[in-house]
């Protein structure tokens, strides 16, 4: 049966990537369908009940700057908020929040069901159809036998494709715990010549709050004032809640013991990973406890964070303790940890294996190179983390809609956002293990801070139609104020006493001194901005002014390469100095710029030089003729 509506965009999957894709597409005015197995599970957090963290928190604010939903959702449903790395400098700080995962899910589920232009369909996509004699999508076929037509299709299947859960030596097919996997869609990919890679991830057991001895544990409260994720939640135009605005709940800290490690070592052969049952590659940066014990055998203990999953519920998430040990050993292992001596497991820990399609199959727009109108986002691209997924969902959703309207595609650059860094990494280098973001992945980290996503991106977002006129004007005004204050400080002369001498310096120079914070300026007779946000931006911009320039210079060579466009019809076999292997890689990857080429795996600097020389010669010959 053919579905009665013809959609502009069909989004497959209602996880964190699917949500942002569907909402962005609908916001741009595209007739959008979100197809998911269970309406009520939209926005579920199958792993840790938290949003944000290093670099990830910045991504959430970037999504917010594009009118995305993740930031608003966590601001509404968060139960603890923290700014990480406050002692380490503004560019590496990042907000993180514990979510009430039930509230978060309800929020998102309600949001997608009450959005203009967006229809939620409960079904499973089992195939994607292509137009006759063409490599362009036509629509999807569902398990219930519907044929749904769409100009663009965004696939965000997370861990569902060929999903297989492992608990010790037991295993069974599942997309997430207690949900069936998607076993038919992989067929579409195989048929169309895509390679499927096997990845693995895992999640710890959930613990019964009432069986934990809290009195002996170290408390980790939230920050006050609490950082927020959306620039638009109250108080409007800031990244901080008001003092006392959010009621917060504490997390608690405990540590593994020598006994924990012993239990794991003794039973290593019974874990799915070390027992050989799992062949997929797991995330190095979010390892299971058995991984940590094998890889860091000298470390006497590992930190465990006990995080509440909901405000009032009994389920506790022991962050740092994911495992694929058999269930009975899990009980023994968890109970070897101080505070957990009598703990009861509500759900066992499990590991899950699933298929991904290598993201090198994608353009920076997240459209596949093989099939026009087909977009991939989220864990299906080999990433890990809700935030990474949501960031890709946003870009895929926007592009899917733009394509439906026949408009130019959109992409984010490395020097303007972490989302751009991530997508560039994914599409140029590919993944050999689940990818997560770090600040160190960006060569522009002084610029890509948690405090300025809105300033970095609002222009682009507005031009696309993702921000309202009112929002645009609001930010533009703030941007102007910041600029004016900086100009003012450059001119304003201040008397200061240094080494017994009275000197005249500008307010700008005074504020550049490490020991002078902006709040000290009034004591030198210099006024400061009223708006908290403007004050914070002015201070960081003054303090880091010299460093921005250094960062820019350091990246100049790369940026120079970024500006060298590679002709579409370039014949790499004509360039000597390139090995056959490099020629093939380049011909396959079709890099758009020399910078893009330089970031490809296995492309040496010498090869880049050879291409540069070749292009130069081509230009010379052109001018000769």
């Amino acid at each position: 049966m053919v579905y009665d509506t013809e959609f502009d965009v069909v989004v497959v999957g209602g996880g964190h990537a699917g949500i942002e894709a569907a909402l962005a597409s609908a916001k741009l005015g595209a007739k959008t369908a979100l197809i998911t197995l269970d309406k009520e599970k939209v926005g579920l957090m199958p792993c840790n009940p938290a949003i944000g963290g290093i670099a990830k928190g910045i991504v959430v604010r970037e999504i917010d700057a594009f009118g995305g939903e993740m930031g608003r959702a966590i601001d509404q449903t968060g139960i603890q908020f923290k700014m990480l790395n406050t002692r380490k400098g503004p560019a590496v700080r990042s907000p993180r929040a514990q979510a009430d995962k039930e509230e978060y899910r309800k929020y998102m589920s309600k949001k997608v069901q009450n959005t203009e232009n967006l229809t939620v369909i409960e079904d499973e996509v089992i195939d994607i159809t292509l137009k006759k004699n063409s490599n362009e999508v036509e629509g999807v076929i569902t398990e219930k036998g519907l044929r749904i037509k769409a100009k663009s299709v965004v696939v965000t299947t997370g861990t569902f494709l060929g999903g297989l859960i492992h608990i010790g030596d037991k295993r069974f097919p599942a997309g997430r715990m207690e949900e069936k996997p998607s076993n038919k869609l992989p067929e579409f990919y195989r048929r169309n010549g895509f390679i499927l890679q096997r990845f693995k991830t895992g999640t710890p057991a959930r613990l019964d709050k009432r069986t934990i001895n809290w009195s002996i544990l170290e408390e980790a409260p939230g920050d006050e004032p609490a950082p927020k994720f959306s620039f638009w939640t109250e108080p409007y135009g800031s990244y901080w809640f008001k003092e006392g605005q959010k009621e917060q709940i504490s997390c608690y800290i405990t540590y593994t013991t020598e006994k924990t490690h012993e239990i794991i070592r003794k039973n290593l052969h019974r874990t799915a990973l070390y027992g050989g049952a799992i062949t997929g590659i797991g995330p190095r940066y979010c390892p299971s406890i058995e991984d940590k014990i094998v890889k860091f055998e000298d470390k006497p203990r590992h930190t465990v964070w006990l995080e509440p999953e909901t405000k009032d519920g009994i389920s506790i998430y022991p962050n740092g303790l994911s495992t694929s040990l058999p269930e009975e050993i899990q009980w023994e292992m968890y109970r070897s940890i101080p505070g957990l001596e009598n703990v009861v497991l509500l759900k066992p820990a499990y590991a899950i294996e699933y298929f991904i399609v290598p993201p090198t199959e994608l353009y920076p727009t997240l459209e596949t190179k093989k099939i026009k109108g087909l977009y991939h986002a989220g864990n299906f691209n080999g990433t890990t983390g809700y935030e990474e997924a949501a960031g890709q969902g946003l870009v895929a959703g926007i592009n899917a809609a733009l394509r439906a309207f026949g408009k130019e595609p959109f992409y984010l650059r490395r020097d303007e956002s972490y989302i751009g860094v991530m997508i560039d990494d994914l599409t140029t280098k590919g993944v050999i293990e689940p990818y997560r973001l770090f600040t160190s992945r960006s060569e522009y980290r002084l610029h890509l801070r948690q405090d300025n996503p809105i300033l970095r991106l609002y222009g682009k977002a507005y031009n696309l139609g993702m921000l309202s006129e009112e929002q645009y004007k609001f930010v533009k005004e703030i941007e102007k104020e910041i600029k004016d204050w900086l100009e003012f400080y450059k001119k304003e002369a201040v008397k200061m006493v240094a080494g017994g001498e009275t000197k005249r310096v500008t307010a700008f120079n005074l504020l550049q001194r490490p020991e002078i914070s902006i709040d000290k300026l009034p004591s030198y007779g210099v006024c400061v901005p009223d708006k908290n946000y403007v004050r914070e931006e002015v201070e960081i911009n003054v303090k880091y002014s010299g460093y921005f320039e250094r960062e820019r210079k350091m990246n100049e060579k790369m940026r120079h390469l970024e500006n060298i466009k590679l002709p579409h019809d370039i014949d790499y076999s004509k360039i000597a100095g390139l090995t056959k292997e490099v020629q093939q890689k380049l011909s396959k990857a079709k890099p758009m710029t020399l910078g893009h080429a330089a970031r490809l795996e296995g492309i040496t600097p010498a090869a880049i030089t050879a291409i540069m020389v070749y292009l130069q010669k081509m230009r010379e010959e052109k001018t000769k003729n």
């Binding site: 290093i54 770090f438 010498a606 130069q616």
Partner: protein, 454 residues
């Protein structure tokens, strides 16, 4: 860049790999996709296998024999350039070599640009930038010692040391990155540990920096001034010094006005004698040229020998002259000991005198040793590398940045992203040395210093 030189894969180059001059053997090298097919047309033999030496004749296009040669084929990528390479060893006759090149060009090869073989090796990833430079150094080496060091660099000794430096720095970078990116799991590193590691890197950089001076001495040579009043035997002392190993470098004798400059070497070090006047004259130079002129020359010198007549003894005139140049900390040489020492020699107010006889060569070896000690050249040179000006500048920058990080460490502890910026910048300068990131002009400079065929 590089005058717009360009390599197409179908482009095969040819050049003489040995100088164009009469000699026992000359080598013609062909590199590129068609190297073997061109080689076969010249050599007219089938079944050529890589890395074997074949004996046979080279023919011109009309079938006339040009020469009897040795023929070797290196298959890509196992060759100097990383491409197919053919080497033809002819008799060392200039017309023969020219004829062979001519015929290769006739069959489709192009005459190579200067440095093009080395550049291809670099572009094909066979060598890094320090090694490419070492090839130029090796070709231009004037002394045995200089070539030995160039070979060390060519074998990758300098790259190894730079890489060891980078590794130390990268280890520190990853430690701090771990702390930044996993604040909930990784504890903060003690500032004292960061400082210790930075100092370690700086120490290694300083060691390399100090090799610059030695490198200069090895390639450029030293400037030597011999000072003393007339008739103390300065000329004969100089002759005694250079006579020791005169045979090593004699190629360019008589080609420059100041014939001494390029033609002498002491223990393998090129030595340029500065004309401090009075050396070749017998008149009192202070009066004739003026002390000012002499001073300028002495100022320029790397080493000054102050010579007096040990038989005659330390005179007032010696004393007056010595005081003029004392600031240069000259090596004091008592000459003419074959005639017997002055009775008062035990009462001289400086002890460190090298007694020699230019005539019998007695003590000359001691003087040389002293000279080398003064130049800081005593270390074992078998594994020694030295850096050039390009390396020196990059290392200096790297060091400056790291020293600055230590100075500001108290602030940087709370601005770790700035500390990381410092460390990354320092590391980028090290990368530049190896050519991991190369700009077009750097490449252009390096490869334009080559001569054809290299």
């Amino acid at each position: 860049m590089v005058g717009g030189k360009i390599f197409y894969s179908e482009d095969t180059i040819v050049a003489n790999a040995t100088p164009l001059m009469p000699s026992a053997v000359s080598v013609v090298r062909i590199s590129g996709k068609d190297a073997l097919s061109i080689g076969k047309k010249l050599f007219r033999k089938e079944g050529i296998k890589p890395r074997r030496v074949y004996f046979g004749k080279i023919y011109d296009r009309n079938g006339n024999t040009i020469d009897e040669v040795l023929f070797i084929y290196f298959k890509a990528p196992n060759s100097f350039t990383g491409e197919d390479v053919v080497e033809i060893h002819t008799h060392g006759s200039v017309p023969v070599v020219k004829k062979v090149i001519d015929e290769a060009v006739n069959y489709g090869a192009r005459i190579a640009e200067p440095g093009e073989f080395t550049k291809r090796a670099f572009l094909n990833g066979k060598i890094d930038l320090t090694q490419a430079e070492a090839i130029a150094q090796l070709i231009g080496a004037k002394t045995e010692k200089a070539s030995k060091v160039a070979v060390n660099i060519l074998e990758g000794r300098l790259s190894e040391r730079i890489n060891a430096l980078r590794d130390t720095l990268l280890e520190l970078i990853s430690l701090i990155e771990a702390e930044i990116n996993f604040p909930e799991d990784v504890e903060e590193i003690e500032p004292s540990i960061i400082e210790e590691k930075l100092r370690e890197v700086i120490n290694h950089i300083e060691k390399l920096l100090s090799s610059y001076r030695r490198g200069q001495i090895l390639t450029e040579g030293i400037k030597l001034a011999i000072v003393g009043r007339p008739n103390v035997g300065k000329s004969s002392l100089f002759n005694a010094l250079i006579g020791y190993e005169r045979a090593i470098v004699s190629e360019y004798k008589g080609t420059t006005r100041d014939f001494i400059e390029e033609t002498i070497a002491i223990k393998g070090i090129p030595v340029r004698l500065l004309d401090t006047a009075g050396l070749r004259e017998t008149e009192d130079y202070i009066e004739k040229i003026g002390i000012q002129k002499a001073r300028e020359r002495i100022e320029e010198a790397d080493v000054v020998l102050f010579v007096f007549d040990a038989h005659e003894g330390w005179t007032n005139e010696d004393k007056k002259l010595y005081e003029e140049i004392e600031y240069k900390q000259p090596i004091v040489v008592g000459n003419k000991i074959d005639l017997g020492l002055d009775k008062n020699h035990r009462n001289y107010y400086f002890k460190d005198i090298i007694y020699v006889s230019s005539k019998t060569k007695q003590g000359i070896d001691l003087l040389e040793e002293k000279l080398f000690e003064k130049l800081n050249l005593t270390e074992d040179q078998d594994s020694e590398v030295y850096i050039n000006l390009r390396h020196y500048k990059a290392l200096e920058k790297s060091k400056e940045i790291l020293e600055n990080s230590i100075r500001n460490l108290n602030t940087l502890i709370n601005q770790k992203e700035i500390l990381m910026l410092d460390l990354q910048e320092a590391e980028k300068h090290l990368e530049e040395i190896l050519g991991i990131i190369t700009t077009e002009d750097v490449l252009g400079n390096i490869f334009s210093n080559f001569c054809i065929g290299k």
